[in-house]
Subunit: 318 residues, 2 copies
């Protein structure tokens, strides 16, 4: 029952009307080389070109625009060392709202600098989940800021859903398959809801690193298996699913396929070399999955979501 | 007098109608970060997304489509270790025409492989201009193939002119300035002819590496100064101007500005990091020039031609 009400409360068209002028309408690119190699027709949705470099800007913007006046004055907060932190900081800055970001003290300098550049007020903590949550709790108490969870938040999911919704507007025909990376499940559950509502023939396939296959495990045992300290180059996909995202995924995802670290690096290199665009390792996982499981995708029309392009250019995996 | 007849024989609209379905209509991208940094409004013409990874595909395709039947059967040939070789090989392959490519035996393996992949028939020679020309002469004698010079060829110049012509179609307003890298001058003279004919208010500024500033020197002394073994990271811009390109440039270019190696690398990094796209060092020279000479561009609308994206990803300059 919870699920049904959740589905109903996600209004994708309204969200797109709300954030449409604030987010970039990112292009769909194609590559004849990759099509030949995979025997498919792939449309790459380039959220690496999105503001703050990732799809996360959609959810963050939607959450910020749904704050009421009182909450806006108090600001927003989150804990993240990744793309959500940057996205929330920038979306907040663009509306003159304070953004308090809790980051682990060992976060990479490039990420710290990006959050600073977007005006985020950073509080460092020890690199444990407990320290993060405790620090965030104190900030919330002090400031009254609204916690915007990176993915387990209905407004965030609704914002992420606009990514595939926009893709469907850009395409002439409904695709056979959409492949979406899965970490916490915000983009995936948003994509599922968009497909259900606007493209029912499309199968939603999740792509996950083999080395962080908690969603795959969860689906297999039919209950949420948390992700415990996984080691993968796809650093955006290390998180566990959430109580809001998991039921949507469990009920609707067509399947979850995994890719090895080698495949992820190969896919990332292929995109840089042939498509001349910069994607981060997490964004390469869907193509890596297609390369590893070609029979699933052969002769199909496929949307691949390039989730982001934030990568340390001075530390590449090849 | 030669010049006037040359101008008249370049028919850009006809060339665009001829090659329009074969070349990619490459996007114009913008970056609010770079606009803020430079106090300009820049439209980046992304020929790094062009087939074979560079604008060269336009000129090569135009030259191939203008061959008569007899010449088509005999094939085409050129000497180049760079983007022209790849472009000519691919354009020829797409029309079932043989392409004989003379490459120096020390050419990078990635470039040799790219030409091979596009079906080019490679003959290696010693890495001197004399050896190149001699080898090419023998191939021409044996095969009867038509020599397509990388830039000193009227059909090639006409093809390159479609790049800025297409940009003008994509833009709502005529830009104040177009900045174009200069090596042999094929793209620059094509851009000049397109601007003269379709956007007379636009100033054409050439961008050249300080370490390979033969065009700058030529303009200063008003005669063609050859380029002698220059050392620059912008390997596409090492060549001398040609007898066809130099007069067009001499007569019409607004100015030639140079950029240091450091600026070129900085500009390239900025584009990769902020725009999430892969450009080669030669393509970064126009932005490097804008960073070094901000007063020339301040408050102007500027087109920057990203000439190509062929770079060895395993050997980056940072």
């Amino acid at each position: 029952m919870e699920n049904i009400s959740l589905h109903e409360s996600v209004r994708i068209e309204e969200a797109y009307a709300r954030i449409g002028n604030e987010v970039k309408k990112t292009p769909l690119l194609t590559s004849s080389t990759i099509d030949k190699l995979t025997n498919t027709r792939i449309f790459f949705k380039c959220e690496n070109f999105q503001k703050a470099g990732a799809f996360k800007y959609r959810g963050a913007t939607n959450a910020i625009l749904k704050l009421d006046k009182t909450d806006s004055v108090r600001g927003v907060c989150t804990h993240s060392s990744g793309n959500h932190a940057q996205a929330l900081a920038l979306a907040a800055q663009n509306h003159n709202i304070d953004a308090y970001i809790v980051m682990p003290e060992n976060a990479p300098l490039v990420k710290i600098n990006a959050v600073k550049e977007y005006g985020g007020k950073i509080t460092f903590c020890k690199p444990t989940l407990e320290a993060r949550e405790k620090t965030l709790f104190h900030i919330q108490k002090e400031t009254g800021a609204t916690f915007i969870h990176p993915y387990n938040n209905i407004d965030v999911i609704e914002g992420q859903a606009t990514c595939f919704y926009e893709t469907l507007i850009q395409l002439e025909d409904k695709p056979d398959i959409v492949v979406c990376p899965v970490g916490g499940g915000g983009l995936l559950s948003g994509t599922i809801l968009a497909a259900k509502q606007y493209s029912s023939p499309t199968r939603v396939i999740a792509a996950e690193p083999l080395m962080a296959n908690d969603a795959w495990q969860s689906l297999r045992v039919q209950q949420l298996v948390p992700s415990i300290d996984p080691q993968t180059i796809a650093d955006g996909l290390k998180t566990s699913l959430g109580s809001l995202t998991w039921p949507i995924i469990q009920e609707n995802v067509f399947t979850i396929l995994t890719a090895s670290e080698d495949s992820i690096i190969r896919a990332m290199f292929l995109v840089w070399e042939r498509m001349k665009i910069v994607i981060e390792p997490s964004a390469a996982v869907p193509l890596a999955v297609i390369l590893e499981h070609p029979q699933v995708f052969s002769k199909k029309s496929v949307v691949v979501i390039f989730s982001g392009g934030n990568v340390d250019l001075k530390n590449l995996p090849w």
